[in-house]
Symmetry: C2
Subunit: 295 residues, 2 copies
DNA sequence: CACACTTACGATATTCGTAAGGATT
DNA sequence: AATCCTTACGAATATCGTAAGTGTG
């Protein structure tokens, strides 16, 4: 019993005519005749009674009819669903992105992606860089966006280099300058993101060889909170340059840092061993084209 | 997408190896490779990632796996059910039989039938001859057993000729005789079956040309009730000879009638235009062999 | 005799298995 | 080197369509 035979059966059962059914199936009557014959051999008995002038179902054929209908409907449904999944007609993508990217770049990219593939739902996990790495590692998301990761099991495709910038309160002594030295910046109370943050780690790393120390006096969990703290004069901080417009909107002043080491590649992260779905691949491509122009 | 491709997919997905899967499918690796290739072309994307050293499912393949399992399970289930139905492994038969036959012959036939086909359930409608005809006509049963019917749409296969016999109370004036004349019989109160009964109709028909009249003084719905009434001396009656043992067991005396016209063929009845199931056909054969030897 | 299904038969496709190819561990 | 999947190719198989056959109304 194969699919073609069952389709033939259904067509004949519904038309009660080999001629009409063969037209509906775009085949010859003889081929249809053979298909039904094959089906009957496979089942071990006749499903139709042919009296040269009329075709009717046997009781066994009668009981096959609803079963065949359901079987073929399910069959086509599965076939269609998989086709849709491959052609991006349907699908689901889960990604994780670090906040600076999620806020400043992702919306634009997602708008473009959704325009291309409106039926694919996207779930964004807006978490700090460390959690992005974890979620990709665990397999909770197929794709992450963050700083270049250490684990060898993860692959990385850079989008752009993000440099850190200093943010200071308006009206502070830095106002006239465009660039600021670390030494001058650290004279002020330092407001940092929560401890396991990538920003924090990079800052400590880049200051390792210098006599300077990060005196963290305030901590926050959200970039916008840090920005607002700085804006109200509680201290200074260092954030990814991506956040510049956001920080300025909050009322903080953004200054470049005179230290080239504070530059990190931001890019797409995925698990080498895990396959990405067609939908994820499509999003990957959009992010690659949109994400490499952060402005 | 066809059945073979889906079976190939399932085998590879479960073994994660083309070699092992091809052994399980009793085919060559190349054939399996082509089958998967064909499936992937049909679906529009890859379901496996082959890295020459390992095979793993793509996310799309992962989502196909449970669907394929169900599809094939349903498929095989339908195939098996139909095979069983044809090979009489399962099935259901509905027949209608007139009471005299249902009581005196059918049990023996059904015992033999059930021994041959234990998984086939049989539903017996124990109804008067007229209802047997109706139920076959309507299609409520595929097979009936009763007197030869009139409708041209029904086919009839005789099993035996049943003649009517007189039943009288023990100790009545007939005791010494083996045969009884109509005239003598109708001197006594006549107990008949309910009006539309075939027995009643035949009796009236066979008395049409004679001066005798059926004076029905009592009516009952069941043969055994009639028998008991006769046995207790309420009157006399005429019943199919088949019921002889039953009537004697109830205490009535059975006498032959001196009238050859009171003989009717009893046999199998079915609708010419309606197909009979394999199970019904099997029962038909058993009834033909058992039913033609009523004793 | 016209219609509808089956069978026959040659041609076309498809599928199969063996064997060679390519890639990875 | 050994293993495993893919590709190539000739052979076996299956399927198809045309056309003839068969039986019914």
């Amino acid at each position: 019993m194969n699919v073609k035979q069952l389709r033939s059966f259904l067509a004949v059962a519904e038309t009660l005519s080999f001629v009409i059914a063969s037209e509906r199936l775009h085949t010859s009557q003889s081929a249809l005749s053979m298909a039904i014959k094959g089906l009957e051999e496979s089942l071990g008995g006749k499903v139709f009674v042919r009296t040269t002038r009329s075709v009717q179902l046997t009781p066994e054929g009668e009981s096959l009819l609803p079963l065949a209908r359901k079987l073929l409907a399910d069959w086509d449904s599965v076939h269609h669903e998989l086709q849709q999944r491959f052609s991006l007609g349907i699908g689901k993508v889960s990604i994780a992105a670090m906040p600076s990217f999620a806020i400043n770049v992702l919306p634009r990219a997602l708008k473009q992606f959704r325009a291309l593939h409106p039926k694919i739902s996207v779930q964004v996990h807006d978490v700090i860089n460390e959690d992005v790495i974890d979620m990709v590692q665990i397999g909770e998301v197929e794709l992450g966006i963050g700083f270049k990761p250490y684990p060898a099991s993860l692959a990385f495709e850079p989008l752009f280099n993000d440099q850190f910038v200093a943010i200071v309160p308006p009206g502070s002594g830095f106002e006239d300058e465009e660039r600021v030295e670390w030494e001058a910046l650290l004279q002020h109370p330092f407001i940092s993101l929560q401890k396991p943050s990538a920003v924090h780690a990079y800052l400590e790393d880049s200051l390792r060889d210098s006599p300077l120390v990060l005196k963290t006096e305030l901590e926050a969990h959200q970039l916008s909170t840090v920005g607002k703290m700085v804006a109200t004069g509680l201290g200074v901080s260092v954030v990814p340059a991506l956040c510049t417009p956001q920080m300025e909107a909050l009322g903080a002043k953004v200054l470049k840092l005179k230290d080239a080491r504070l530059e990190q590649p931001v890019g797409l992260i995925w698990h080498r061993e895990r396959e990405r779905s067609a939908a994820t691949h499509a999003l990957y491509n959009v992010l690659k084209s949109v994400g490499s122009q952060p402005d």
